[in-house]
Symmetry: C2
Subunit: 532 residues, 2 copies
């Protein structure tokens, strides 16, 4: 099936109604063999990038003007189209990423369900934050009739991530939330899965057209180097950027966007080490379970999750030694799995060459990183004292792959390790009920540094829901106010507009007295769906 | 009274519990005389800036941990203290700004009422966005128990504005919303009113201490040049910046903040020309009223409002000529008023030297800008064709003072003028009811470029309310998602944290099953104040 489906792809950049392929060809990877992928993909030219941004800007007013129910329908249509084309998408994605059928099936369901969640958010209408304040001449200053709602920010550039070819790529959370906000999207596909990106984009573009969205609602740009993305972020029509990937990449885009004549927000999620803190009580009660659960979490997707727990902070006890032994033994016999591409494999090997030989580092499990015929890795487990960890900042850096660092120390040292952490997407705490009273200081430290705190569990697996926060202080993200997963991700792409003393016929529907959309609105401070 | 009250001030920087004045002294202006102000103020040293940021960081956890009702009480106490000290504050502010008793009385009431609005927002608790999603194992991916709320971002640097010594300065909207969010504030006082700033800060600091807030909740730094502000924005403890002022200043702070090792958000409101569009029907029906209302709006605070309407777009008609004549005559006999300081007066005079002599510019009213003994200006009214306006970008730049540019053209030209506009805080439209049908294109253009659209009125006077949006696309602000006035301004200083599968006793009160705070929460997608 893959051969046939890949043969149908063109490797072109999808720009408005057109296909463009004037640029130099390149190919994605085949992680299982180390050979080049079978699709010749055209690196987008500067002109093609500019055209994609212009087409998105041209689509913006039409897309923004679609009634909410049509916009919700559009998201549902896209979700259905992805499911309908799922077998082909998964087959291509598996060839390009080696993530396997089971994982890709889950990821596809997550991707289409995410679009459906945003369809619900749009249909509900509360995200518009329609707010009406009746006039009050007695206030200081006097209050006129004021009505406010959120509107789409404008065309959004979305960068696909290597490690989630579906859920954080062309049809991923950034795209879903931007479309839900009413913003056209130009995706810069990740060069690790260009064929998956094209197949996904074609399914989405057909569905968008069927649902009546204008051409330019979704564009796709291919590129192997950094030039295409840089040009896209600098295109004057682009109003915001969604990115999931490395710190170097996210920071570079942030800096480019901040230096534009008109700066724009960059929502970059750049990963973290997601520390796991285990108390003595938890070790004594369920150390083996924690060892097993942790290994499963750190090896999920061959450790290439931004939420992979990479540091485990433990007391200096016999039970911690048992956990380490069990983890090391299981890691030594773990078959490992594929890494996504040569760059990731080479970087991980080089990083490990340094960190495993640092002073005081014990190698408990010696994973192999293959960079020849195919890229693969088996789990590596290192151990250091808290004092050594605090002295070697390289141990606190993310290893993008199945690598964990156990850090052992007394309570004060463990709190010092927590305090030394930079901004994190997540932290996890394993503790017994009778120990909770003693966790105040750790909780305060983590709350300051972390976007999501997980109890007696593991941070991999990010539920797509209202209460999710997938974000965190820098360097976990460039924008600590926002999440890239969950229903509030839509806010990143909306801006308020207020109407003062507007005649009814010039008000947008969401703000009219009779509430023709039937949405919840904040009227004089209280939420109601009733007309004025 | 002023002599006595100024004599009681020290000109020191207020840092934690301490007063620091190691730096070079400077003085504020006396705009009525052109002489130096009577208070010798100590420019904050680099060490003092660093100390203020550290003291704010030290206060942060204690301030954040205050229960919501205590935080609300604290804001009310500060509001009451400002009112109680109002006579002294106004007397000093009048000497430093020459804005006059009436205006300062209104501004003080606005300032304390703004603090009271935020006390209501805090007590209501909805701003925390407490969100609870019960577990659902059947979802893909499975949904654990997830609970999310907003928490204070950390110490905020606030820059006082020259033109609002109370409402956008030490006790202004940025400070009120940051304290409401639970963030300590370090204010960089504007050098145009250092004594007002000190008096205000002392009243607030006493009230904060009385209400049990930690030292470091409000710091005050004085500085004449850009160095103090630059050092403050670069202090590692500072988590966000609120600024109201010039484009050059706001952009410089934005760029500094973006280049930090840890970038932080800068909410800079940088003014705009706030165009007013008047239709032929409105001119015919009420041209004289519009001329009079416009003159009052453009001369309010001697034209030194960020919402001052600076451009009026008119049809090429006899009625537009009548409006121009009436406006010119009234402007010629208008007494004008004081400008805030020598820099503003000199800049305005230099700018007018250029713009009034541009090709095609008619000078309808020739205001004088005094830069010698006292700074004052009378209204200047210029007129150009739309074609000349479009050809001369300098005419679309803000004149900070009582200057207006009338732009005359046919309908297509007027729409072209609208399209040529950069991001604006406001635009106003004057039209008759039977013309509303023809306004679709103008409305679409303005909605794209403007934060607030005012109908049949004037943009000066920014109500402090839920539906207000005082913001707009760049260059009106550096952050189009946010407002600096109104209850949603609090969001700028909050970030989400999610708790996954947390034991009850480790959850913050807002997220516990029994809802001990009794606040509205989003539970499984629906808002309720009921316990789980």
């Amino acid at each position: 099936m893959t051969s046939e489906t890949i043969a149908r792809l063109t490797g072109a950049n999808l720009v408005g109604h057109a296909e463009r392929s004037a640029g130099t060809p390149f190919a994605g990877p085949n992680p299982r063999t180390g050979e080049a992928g079978r699709l010749a993909v055209a690196e987008a030219t500067t002109d093609e990038v500019a055209e994609a941004a212009r087409e998105a800007a041209r689509a913006a007013p039409t897309l923004a003007a679609l009634p909410l129910d049509r916009r919700a329908q559009l998201l549902q249509t896209v979700a259905d189209a992805l499911d309908a084309d799922g077998e082909a998408i998964k087959a291509i994605a598996d060839e390009e990423t080696a993530l396997g059928e089971a994982r890709l099936t889950t990821e596809l369901a997550r991707t289409s369900n995410q679009l459906r969640l945003f369809a619900e958010v749009v249909a509900d209408g509360r995200f518009l934050e329609a707010t009406i304040d009746p006039p009050d001449p007695d206030r200081i200053p006097p209050r006129p009739d004021l009505r406010r709602q959120l509107l789409p920010l404008g065309p959004v550039a979305v960068f696909g991530a290597s490690n989630f070819p579906l859920a954080f790529s062309v049809a991923g959370g950034d795209t879903a939330s931007a479309l839900a906000a009413g913003c056209p999207v130009v995706v810069k596909a990740h060069p690790s899965h260009p064929a998956t990106s094209e197949r996904t984009a074609r399914a989405m573009r057909q569905a968008l057209a069927d649902a009546g969205a204008p051409a330019g609602t979704l564009g796709l740009l291919q590129g192997e180097g950094v030039e295409v993305g840089a040009a896209l972020v600098q295109a004057p029509e682009i109003a915001a950027v969604g990115f999931t990937g490395s710190h170097a990449g996210g920071r570079a885009l942030h800096d480019l966007a901040a230096a534009r004549p008109t700066p724009i927000p960059v929502y970059a999620e750049m990963g973290s080490v997601n520390p796991l803190f285990v108390t003595q009580g938890a070790l004594a009660a369920r150390g083996d379970d924690i060892a097993d659960g942790f290994l499963q979490s750190m090896t999920m997707g061959t450790g290439q999750f931004c939420t992979k727990p990479g540091v485990v902070v433990l007391p200096d006890s016999a039970e911690a030694q048992s956990l380490a032994t069990r983890l090391a033994e299981a890691a030594a016999t773990h078959q490992g799995g594929p890494l996504l591409n040569e760059r990731i494999a080479t970087s991980l090997r080089r990083q490990l060459d340094v960190t495993r030989t640092l002073d005081g580092v014990e190698v408990l499990a010696d994973g192999i990183v293959e960079t020849g015929d195919g890229y693969a890795a088996r789990p590596t487990v290192l151990r250091v004292t808290a004092q050594r960890f605090l002295a070697e900042p390289q141990l606190a850096a993310e290893h993008f792959g199945p690598v964990a660092v156990l850090v052992v120390g007394d309570e004060e040292e463990r709190l010092a390790v927590a305090r030394s952490l930079e901004g994190q997407l997540t932290a996890a705490v394993h503790a017994e009920a009778d120990e909770h009273d003693g966790l105040d200081e750790l909780m305060a430290i983590l709350t300051d540094r972390v976007g999501r705190i997980v109890f007696d569990g593991y941070p991999t697996g990010v539920a797509v829901t209202h209460a999710m926060h997938h974000g965190g202080p820098y360097p976990a993200t460039t924008s600590p106010l926002h999440t890239s997963v969950g229903s509030t991700a839509i806010r990143r792409f909306l801006r308020p507009v207020a109407y003062q003393s507007a005649p009814r016929e010039l008000l947008p529907p969401a703000l009219r007295d009779d509430n023709p959309l039937g949405i919840p609105r904040q009227v004089d401070g209280a939420w109601t769906s009733a007309p004025l």
